[in-house]
Amino acid sequence: MSAIAATEPFLERAPQLLRDAATGFLPEPWRWLVNSLIAIGVILAVFGTLFAFLTLAERKILGRVQNRPGPNRTPLPFIKIKFFGLAQPFADGVKSLTKEDIVPRDADQVLHFLAPVVLLAFSIITFAVIPFGRHLVPVELDAGVLYFFAAGAATELAVFMAGWASHNKYSLLAAMRALAQLISYELPLLLAWVPVVLVAGSLSTTEIVTAQAGWKFGFLPHWYVFTPWGFAGFVIFIVAALAESNRSPFDLPEAESELIAGHLTEYSGFKYALFFMAEYFGMIALSGMAITLFLGGWRAPLPFLEWIPSYAWFGAKLIVLLLGFIWIRATFPRLRMDQLTRFAWKFLVPLALINLGNAAFWSLTSHWTGALQLIRWAVSLVLIVGPFVLMGRKLSAGVAPRVYRYAPS
Amino acid sequence: MSPLQVCLLFSSALFCIGLVGALSRSNAILVLLGIELMLNAANLNFIAFWRYSPAPAVGTGVLFVIFSIAVAAAEAAVGLALVIAIYRHQKNIRLQEANRLKG
């Protein structure tokens, strides 16, 4: 942990003080162990509850969008009063725990059990490198971002295991489709964050966040999202993140209308819940990384808002991003398999590559000042908008705009 | 027994497992996996020597491993493509039967 300057506001230092208070007296090897255990505990607690309430928020927002109230019935365990269905997640949790966990006779018992475990394990360990606050980085790694995506790469393995172990040719077929989707979207995901590394000059998440410090003209923060290539990278990252975590427009694998629940057909009870927890954790981790890479991690958007503690800012941005995911889920129809892969290979990958070039141009011309700055901005903008429009037109060439015969225009 | 020797033993053991695997199994994929193991053993050696080298700053060992991983990936891809091609011809991937190239 970097030394905590005493001058920082109390709230900022609160987590550290708390932890030191708790483990101050232990000798060194044990103190490190306990500290990390605490960190793990905190992460699991915070993001566990976030996961729970995220499911609730998702169902409430989807409801509201469809003009219906959404779950608001489940009363708190012992108090009769029911308010806004806050107890819903606990009810779900109880339900998933108590539900019977059926395992097909011919299934490969070991793999069947291992799949959710591996998936959840890998999606949780990705949290190790996300800087939640100014000093709240669980593990300070030099190749933090690479670690994050290395851990992420194992999800495909888990999906395959799930698909294969349930001894059901539909789930195997679905696993194959899920793998195809995951693999084809891993490339844009990786290519999306390379420009950030190129400009920030380091793979460690904390250095990326420090590289986004400071404000331009007093109010526009130096976040990468406010640069043309940064914004393009952010959009690609978010789209790829959606695909990686099988959400909204890309939720083909476990779409009900497709192959039942895809590779999760043979899963029920808590294993099924584990899969969902893994998916949500994955989503939270990816959005956390998106915040670190593009939205300035735990940095406050405006100078005079600095007094609010950094982890609060991280939380706020996280909430906004997650609500954005839910919002996207509420809006977009599901993509067909070939549209999905064509979109990845023919649109996102080339765009990401061009964006990489764009970032290289940006970093090479960083010393330009005054009028050149505008030119630099203009060129960078054109470098992104041009291919976007051209490829966009080519991509949607075949698709004529829908003509609604009866619906009022 | 210095830790470096432990590492070397570890890597040679891995190498021999790979070799035995490659030699004993008749399934083409397992032979390929055996070879992949042998490759990893070599990488392990590099890192071991880098770990105990007098000048670790110059990451030659590490660089070599990075390049070897990349090439191994390429090799694995092509090898398995070959296996699939063989399968298409003889509907099974037993290596003994894939000897049509003999002189």
Binding site: - | A22, L23, A98, N99
Partner: protein
Amino acid sequence: MKMTLSAQHLWLIPALPLLAAALGALTPRSGRTPAAGAAIGAMVLSFLLSCGALATALAHPAAHATANFTWFAVGDGAVRLGWLLDPLTAFMCVMVSFVSTLIFIFSLGYMKDDANFKQFFCFLSLFAAAMLGILVANSLLLLFVSWELVGLASYLLIGFWFHKPEAAAAAKKAFIVTRIGDLGFLLGILWLYDSTGSLLFYDNGAGVLEPTALGGLAAQTTLCGLALSTAIGLLIFCGAAGKSGQFPLHVWLPDAMEGPTPVSALIHAATMVAAGVFLIARVYPLMAADQLLAGVPVHALTVVAFIGAITALLGALIAVAQNDIKRVLAFSTVSQLGYMMLALGVGSWVAAVFHLLTHAFFKALLFLGAGSVIHAAHHEQDIRKLGGLSQPLRVTFATFAIGMMALAGVPFLFSGFWSKEAILHAAHEWEVSHLPLFAGLAAVVLTAFYMTRLVAETFFGKARSHAAEHVHENSAVMTVPLVLLAVCAIALGFLGTPAFPWLQARLLGETEVHGHSLLDGSGLMLGSIVLVALGLGAGWAVYWRTPRAKDTSPDPLASAAPATIAFLGARMKFDELYAATLGRLNTFLAAFADFLDHWVWGGAVNFLALLGEFSGTVNREADEGGLNAGFDATSEKLRQTGQAYSHAQTGGTHGYLRTVAIGFVVLVLLVMLGGGR
């Protein structure tokens, strides 16, 4: 504002007509007016520029203003060209451009109904550009280039009516004869370049005509005792002789009359032939450099003087016996050029230039007058068939008469008299010998005689042919130039009279003019006046008093001395002489070269081919027989060993892997146990 033109912009003067020529070449055949307009416009413009140049030159006559530049650099040596502006250039530019403008305007009318009217003006402006190029050049190389262009233009213009065989032959003859002269000129240039390293006349000290180089040249003596400068001067004089139609190479000039009359007027009266004289005047310091070496037997200038005298006499003699109006004028040009060369030879290049300027005007006037006559008389050129034209062609007759009197040297009023007077005066002071003076005086008489014959035959008496009867005066476009030229023929004389030698002073570079009275000419002037009167009187007596009745009636002079007149009529048979000597030599050399090529070189090549074929066959035989057998045996053995080894190729991957592993083990053992350390 007096428009002044500095040396840097001198190149504009030749460039404009060149541009007009290019324009003329590009416009389609039907573009008659644009081509003509462009040509005349260009000439007027370059005339104005020349006046500007003259103004700057006169401002400080002594200076030789130059503008040199590097044309191209090869290795460390560079070929440098340049423009030169001094009074000589300026006067000549003004003269050439003025005369050309008038002749262009004249030819508007003369060539009106000619088919390729456009080409004619294109060639004319090309010629004018080349001529001006010679004048402004500061380097012998640039001068030589323009010299050749002038030769080309004269070939094109002489052979303009190429459908007439004799015109084509005349063009070829003119071109070849001038080329012979130019060959000498080129050798001179090369020798000069070799010895001085540069071809620029004035290059602030390093130029060829500057004292340092001249001193070097004069000091060295080459073969047969000639000074280097003399040898180079003589070679350059060859070029001048060829171009100005001097004694040995004058044969082409009369034949060149085949071209249209404005061509003859422009080229063979005023400008081109004057180029030779201008060249010698330009390189005069080089020619006169060897005066210092007392002991040297031959001076370049003495040769020039004698050649000039001979040509003057020769030209005048032949002119007397010619019946074609243009031939008479052609030979008169030859003799006048002889006069100029004589003036150069005797040491006074200023008098030569002065005569050149005046001659250019009145000879152009005479030729245009002849052209007007021919045009009026439906292309009748034989004076025996003409006659009695004074009444119908009043303006032509008046201007032609002025021209005749100027040429003959009628005293005091006409320019011809003053310039010829200056030459005779210079010849008189020449201490080497007085022969050229006597030849000059004889030529004066003859000139006066044949000119009066010409005028009498054409303008007086009765029209002796149908064509001559109904003749009508030409349009203004033809008569105005005649009048202008007539005015110049008269006015120009007063520029260089001994009392007020303004032109000579300016040419020599002195700023103030100190004239001397007419009388102390030791009676030479008086003598010449008497001779002119003698010539005119004889001419009047023989031809004017009793004009010929019919075109067939005999020439009074011929009846008097039939043999000589016939001989002179045939141009002293020079053509036949050349044909006999040079012609036959040429054919002999051609035959010999053909023999060499066929038998000597041809034979060698055939022999080599034979040799190649023979060695090829020997090689095939050897290869077929001996070599193959051995080769096949070895390759067979190689195949067998390969076969043996192929059995190791079992196709089983495990086998290969096993051998690799075993090989590895053996290798390591070798290293470990074999004393690897």
